[in-house]
C-alpha cells in the first residue's frame, strides 16, 4: 500500500478528531450523541455498499440484520434472563465470567456483553448463510423481493413476540463494558469516548472493506456485478462469493445494531422496519453504489440530519424522494464527473433564466 491510498484514511482520522474538537469548542457537545449513532448506522451502509455496489446484489432486508444484532443483545443484557440465572447450578458460569451482575439494571444477572457479542455474531452468520443459500440463487429484482420478504418477516416477529417487548421493544439494556473504565452506554460522561469508539469501528470497517475491494476477491466481485456468466466462465465461484459478501455485510449490520442498542440502552421494532432498509439502500445509491467513500460521506451526512430531526415528520418521505431523484438524475451517485457536469449545466441555465 502506498501513501496515496493511505491519505484518505489519514484524512478521515483528522476529520473525526476535528469534529470532536469543534463540537467541544462551540459548546455543542450534544451533537456527539447523534454522531455516535450515525457511526453505527454508517457501519450498515458500508456493509451494504460492498454487497450492492461491488457484488451487485440489492438487499432490501438489511434492517433485519441490524435489528437482529440489537434485539439479541438486548435480550441477553437486560433483566429478561434474570430469573433463569438465579439457580445455584450456574455459579460455574458466573465464575467463568460468562454471566455477570449489572449494577446499572438493579444488579440483574445477565450474559457478559462480550459473550453476547459472540453469540450475536454467530447467530447472524448462521442466519445469513441459511437465508443466503436459497436467496442468492435469485438475480436482480427477484433477489430484492425475496430479501424484502425476509425483512418483513423479521420485523413482524420482533413486533409480535412477547419476549421482544412487542411494540415497546426492549429497554434498560446494560452498557457494554470494555476494560472496566469505558462503557458503550448512555452515560453522558463517556460521550466523547463513545464517539471515538463508534468511529474507530467505522475506520476498521473501511480498512477491511478496502482490503477486500482491492484484492483479487474484489475484482471477482466486480466481474460478478458485470456478468455472472462471464465471471463463472473465468473460473470464479459466483455462488460462494455472493454468499461470503452477503454474510460479511450482514455481520456489519449486526455489529452496528449491537453497539447501537447498548449505546441507546434499548431498541424498538422500528429499527427492523422496511423503511429503514429502504433508507440504507437509498444512502448507498446516493453515495454512488461502488464508491466506499461516497457511501461513507452520504451515510454520515444523511443519517446525521435525520437523527437531528432536520426532515421533521417527513423523514421517510425524504429518503423515498431521494431514491427516486437519484435514479432519474444521477444513477451513478453524486460523486461523479457526469453529475457535477450536469449540475453545473443546470445552475448555468437557472442563472440565464434570471438574468433575462
Amino acid at each position: 500500500m502506498n501513501i496515496g491510498r493511505r491519505i484518505h484514511l489519514l484524512a478521515l482520522c483528522i476529520f473525526i478528531i476535528a469534529i470532536q474538537l469543534l463540537a467541544e469548542m462551540s459548546g455543542s457537545r450534544y451533537i456527539l450523541t447523534q454522531l455516535t449513532m450515525t457511526g453505527y448506522y454508517t457501519l450498515v451502509v458500508l456493509g451494504l455498499c460492498l454487497l450492492m455496489g461491488y457484488a451487485g446484489q440489492v438487499s432490501l432486508g438489511h434492517a433485519a440484520f441490524f435489528a437482529l444484532g440489537g434485539y439479541l443483545t438486548a435480550l441477553f443484557s437486560s433483566s429478561h434472563l434474570d430469573q433463569l440465572f438465579t439457580h445455584e447450578n450456574i455459579s460455574i458460569l458466573r465464575k467463568a465470567g460468562i454471566i455477570t451482575h449489572h449494577p446499572e439494571i438493579n444488579n440483574a444477572l445477565c450474559l457478559a456483553p462480550i459473550v453476547s457479542l459472540g453469540i450475536v455474531l454467530f447467530f447472524t452468520l448462521i442466519l445469513a448463510l441459511i437465508i443466503g443459500i436459497p436467496l442468492l440463487r435469485l438475480k436482480g429484482h427477484y433477489l430484492s423481493m425475496a430479501t424484502l420478504g425476509f425483512g418483513i418477516i423479521v420485523h413482524r416477529i420482533f413486533l409480535g413476540t412477547k419476549i421482544f417487548g412487542e411494540a415497546d421493544g426492549i429497554a434498560n439494556v446494560a452498557p457494554f463494558r470494555i476494560f472496566g473504565f469505558f462503557a458503550v452506554g448512555g452515560d453522558a460522561s463517556h460521550r466523547i469516548a463513545n464517539f471515538y469508539f463508534a468511529w474507530f469501528l467505522v475506520l476498521c470497517a473501511i480498512i477491511i472493506l478496502r482490503n477486500i475491494i482491492n484484492s483479487r476477491v474484489g475484482r471477482a466481485l466486480r466481474a460478478i456485478h458485470d456478468s455472472e456468466e462471464a465471471a463463472s466462465a473465468m473460473g470464479v465461484d459466483v455462488g460462494k462469493y455472493k454468499l461470503i459478501v452477503f454474510a460479511i455485510s450482514a455481520l456489519f449490520a449486526a455489529i452496528g445494531g449491537f453497539f447501537m442498542t447498548h449505546y441507546n440502552t434499548g431498541i424498538g421494532p422500528s429499527e427492523a422496519g422496511i423503511m429503514k432498509s429502504v433508507r440504507y439502500v437509498a444512502i448507498v445509491a446516493v453515495g454512488g453504489m461502488a464508491n466506499l467513500w461516497g457511501c461513507l460521506i452520504m451515510g454520515t451526512v444523511l443519517n446525521f440530519f435525520s437523527l437531528r430531526g432536520f426532515f421533521g415528520s417527513y423523514d421517510d418521505a425524504v429518503f423515498g424522494a431521494l431514491l427516486i431523484g437519484i435514479m432519474i438524475w444521477a444513477p451513478d451517485g453524486l460523486f461523479t464527473k457526469e453529475f457535477s457536469h450536469k449540475f453545473r449545466h443546470f445552475v448555468e441555465k437557472i442563472r440565464c433564466q434570471f438574468s433575462k
Partner: protein, 244 residues
Amino acid sequence: MLRVRNLVSGYGNLTIIRSVSLHVKAGEIVTIIGGNGAGKTTLLNTIAGIIQCREGEIVFEHENISKFSADKIAAKGLCLVPEGRQIFSDMTVRENLEMGAYIRYKKENKEEINTDIEKMYNLFPILQNRKHQRAGTLSGGEQQMLAIARALMGRPKLLILDEPSLGLAPIIVQQIFAIIKEIRNMGNTILLVEQNAKAALKIADRGYVMETGQILLEGTTSELFENRDVQRAYLGKEYRHINE
C-alpha cells in the same frame, strides 16, 4: 481431448439439444455451423457448465465433467468466450485481462501473468493502446479481441468461441479469423461455433452441421465444402448453380 456423448439439454420444459455427440482432438480447430435457433449456443453453454445437462456425458481429458459447475470446468482448462462477448465493461482493458488469469493467481506468481499480458498485447496491438480505457468504450471488434485475449489469459487447454463474428464488419471478421488461426498455430485447440459458415470452414480442420438440436452432418472441411446441402443452405449457392 473433448468427447460429448448423447447430450440432452434445454431450459425448463424445453428440450433444445437432442442427443448430440461430438469430439475434439488436441491441436484441432473444429467448427459447428448452423442457422439461427439450431441450438449451438445452448450446446456450448451446456459443455461449459453454465447450463446443467440432462442426459449424456461430457468427457474432458478422460474426466467426466458433465456434473461440474461452470467455475470448476473453467479451472480444468476449458474456457468459453461467450456469445456477445460479455466483457467486464466497467473494468479497464488490463483489468479484464487480469480477470482472465483469475484461476492462475492462486498457483502462479504475478510476473508470469504479466508476461502473458504482454504476449496478448503483441497478439492484439490495439489492446495495448487501449489498456487503461474502460472496456465498455471499445468498439465491437476490439471487444471481441479482448474477450478472446481474456480467455487466453487462463491458458486454456481448449478454447471455445461462440460466434466471434457476431455483429462485426466483414473486414474485422477477417482479422478475427486470422488471429484464431494464429492462436491454433501457437498450439491451442479450438472449438468454434459460427453462423458465418464460409469463414469458419476456411480455417477449420473438421466441422459439424447442426440443425434443430441435432448434428446432421460431420466431416472434414473439404467434405463439407463439397456437400451440396451445405452449399445450398449455408454457403449461399443457388440450387441451379450447383446442378449445372
